[in-house]
Structures are given as structure tokens and as C-alpha cells.
């Protein structure tokens, strides 16, 4: 069987105007691999919103996903915590497995 390696999958749901700042913070934390997914809408402590109710980029959100080696989790969370803490949004971390661990 193909060899799999343990990794962590960190998912940030964050406001669009913060996207570049988040990916910048990821790069500072040494994480160069991430993927940005569109978000249509959602609901949370700060209420409900949907992409159709937007004019311009003020209110939209995106999801940023990084798959990293387990030992990189702590620096990643530390570098991004300041951004995430002040702004609305959600961060979750899950275990996963990857092929070709040398790429992460």
C-alpha cells in the first residue's frame, strides 16, 4: 500500500478583506501551501449573511485551508491568532493523512 503520513488540516473561515493578511501571516509562519475556497453564506455570532446580499467585497467570507505537518501547527496558530481573534470567523483543526510528506 502507498505510504501515508499524518498531517493536520487547518480551516479558517474569515472575511474577504482579511484574506491577504491571513495568507501573509501563513507565509510568515513558513506555510507556503494553502487553498482558498469560496463561501456562499453563513451564520454565526455576528448574524446571517449571504453572498447575494453583498455590494462590493466588504461582507463576503472565504475559507482558507492548509494541510501541514503536525509540528507546524503551533507556530501556524500563533502567527495567525492575532488576526483571527479580533475578527469574526472560525478556525478548526482536524487530523488527516497525506501521500508524499516531503511536500508539506
Amino acid at each position: 500500500m502507498l505510504e501515508m503520513h499524518d498531517a493536520k488540516r487547518v480551516a479558517f473561515i474569515i472575511e474577504t478583506p482579511m484574506q491577504n493578511r491571513l495568507t501573509g501571516a501563513l507565509e510568515e509562519a513558513g506555510v507556503t501551501g494553502y487553498t482558498i475556497l469560496p463561501v456562499l453564506g453563513g451564520s454565526g455570532a455576528s448574524g446571517r449573511w449571504s453572498r447575494e446580499g453583498q455590494v462590493g467585497r466588504a461582507g463576503g467570507m472565504v475559507q482558507v485551508i492548509c494541510i501541514i505537518r503536525p509540528e507546524r501547527l503551533e507556530p501556524l496558530l500563533e502567527h495567525t491568532f492575532k488576526l483571527v481573534e479580533r475578527h469574526i470567523g472560525v478556525v478548526s483543526v482536524a487530523d488527516c493523512q497525506v501521500l508524499r510528506a516531503e511536500r508539506f
Partner: protein, 324 residues
Amino acid sequence: MAGFFDLALANLGSPLILSFILGVAAALARSELSIPEATAKAMSIYLLFAIGFKGGVSVADHGFDPALAKTLFAGIVLSAGLPFVAYALLNVLTGLDRTNAAAVAGHYGSISIVTFVAGTSVAEANGFIAEGFMVAVAAAMEAPAILSALWLIGRSGSNRMDGTLWREILLNGSIVLLVGAFMIGLLTGKDGLAEIEAFIVTPFKGVLCIFLLDMGLVAGRGIRENRDMIRPGLFAFGILMPVIGSCFGAAAAALIGLSVGGTLLLMVLSASASYIAVPAAMRVAVPEADPGIYLTLSLGITFPFNLTIGLPLYLGVARMISGV
């Protein structure tokens, strides 16, 4: 006054305003009618490009006007100054805390380009052509208000701005497009306009109809979801502030000696509140301010007010000032 009611009725009976009302009604009735985000963005790019280009061509056509520099300066002063007026009014009318009041105030110094476009339409429908450079004034008024808002929040305000945010504000999509299209219009003049007139002039009003339908849907959805938030004090602010802002605009226009069209547009710029550039900046720099408040005010109350009642009112005043 009779003149105002006629104007107001004519305004309300135009396909533009009726499309907006249709949108609001559909949203309040919770119809799932919606315009795709990409389409709304495409229409706003079209409108900005067209209005910028036409402004540039008009300046190229009429030559340099000494009023240009004065009006630009007035616009910047209005944008930076009106947040203080708004902040004071909010303190009188509402119980908003300092941060939220300052954030709201910033929106009212800045401008709504769609209200500006609708104002141009109303001016033209009544035979008044504004100075072409008003487009540049609109662009110049987007950003200064943000600084005033941050200053109002307190000393810490200045730390909230980093270089990135500065660049994002000054080079935000609508400023770049408006100013860029203005420059292209200025450089190519009437010949350039002739080449693309069939695209940027002829169907303009129709596109604006559909765009206002979308604005109505968005505003209506905002009203529906935030109706608990709209207490009498906030509501009164959303109506009074544009009227007060327009008076400042009218005074500046009278001092400079703008045409009726130009006076109307400077009033509209002063009266209108931002719902794109300023909210985006506030989300980054003042995340603790509640977007539900400032977006509902600017998009759900002030924008509809300006579009339906404000425009004919401001036009009436602009004509009075100029004695036309």
C-alpha cells in the same frame, strides 16, 4: 414646493426608481429573486467605466476649468469634515458607543457612486449637464472620511492603518476604474467616445435599471434582517444626515459657482453614504464595529431616501440657488 412635488413624482415614476422599488418589494416579500454576484460586479464596472469616461471626454471637450481644483479641494474638505458633523448628530440622536458612532460617521463623509450616477441621470433628464470633472471629485471624496473616522475612534486609530490598508483604500477597484476611465476619456476625447458610444452611452440607463433592481434587493434584504436594529434615533439620523450633508455641499457649490448640474452632484456626493469602500476598510481596521449598523443605515435607509426623495429635493435647492 409644487415644483418639488412634480419633480418628486416624475422621479418616482421613472423606470429607474421603479426598478429599485421592485427590488425592495421582492426582498421584503422574501422572493428568492437575486442577481448573481458576478453580474452585479460586471454592471458596476460598466457604470464606473462609462461615467468616468464620459466625464473625461467632457473635460477634454470644455478645456481646463479653474473650478476643477477648487471643487476637488472642497470635496476633500467635505469628505474629511462631514464625519464630525455626523458624529455629533449621532451623539444627539442615538446611544451608539464611540466606536460604532465613529464608524457610521465615516460612511457619511464618503460617497455612494450609484447615487451619484442616479443624480447625473436626474440632472440630464431635467436638462442640466454637470461639469465633467465631478467624476474626479467623486473619486477624491471616497477616502478622506476614513481617516476622520479613525481619528474619532481615538489616538489608537492611527495604529490601525498600515501601509497595506492605505494602498487598499486608495487603489480600491472603484477609484482606479473611475479615475482610469476618466483619464482615458480625457486622452481620447470626442473621437474616443464616438468609437464606443454605442456601448457606454446608449444602453446606460437600461443597465442602471437592472443595477438598481439589484440594489433594491440588497437594501430590502438588509432592512428585513436588521429591522430590530433600526430604532427611531438611527432612522432619524439616516434621513437627517443626508439632508444636512447636502446643505454643506450646496454651500460649497455656491461659493465655487458651479452650474446647476454641478451643484446637484456636489450635494448628492455630500448627502450620500458609502457602502463599499468604507465598510471594507472598517472591517479591517475597526473589526469591533458592527457592520449591521453601518450597512443598514447607509444601504437600507440613506440610499433609498436619497434615491426617491433626496434627488428631487436637492435638484429643487440647486435650481433655487442658481435662480434657474
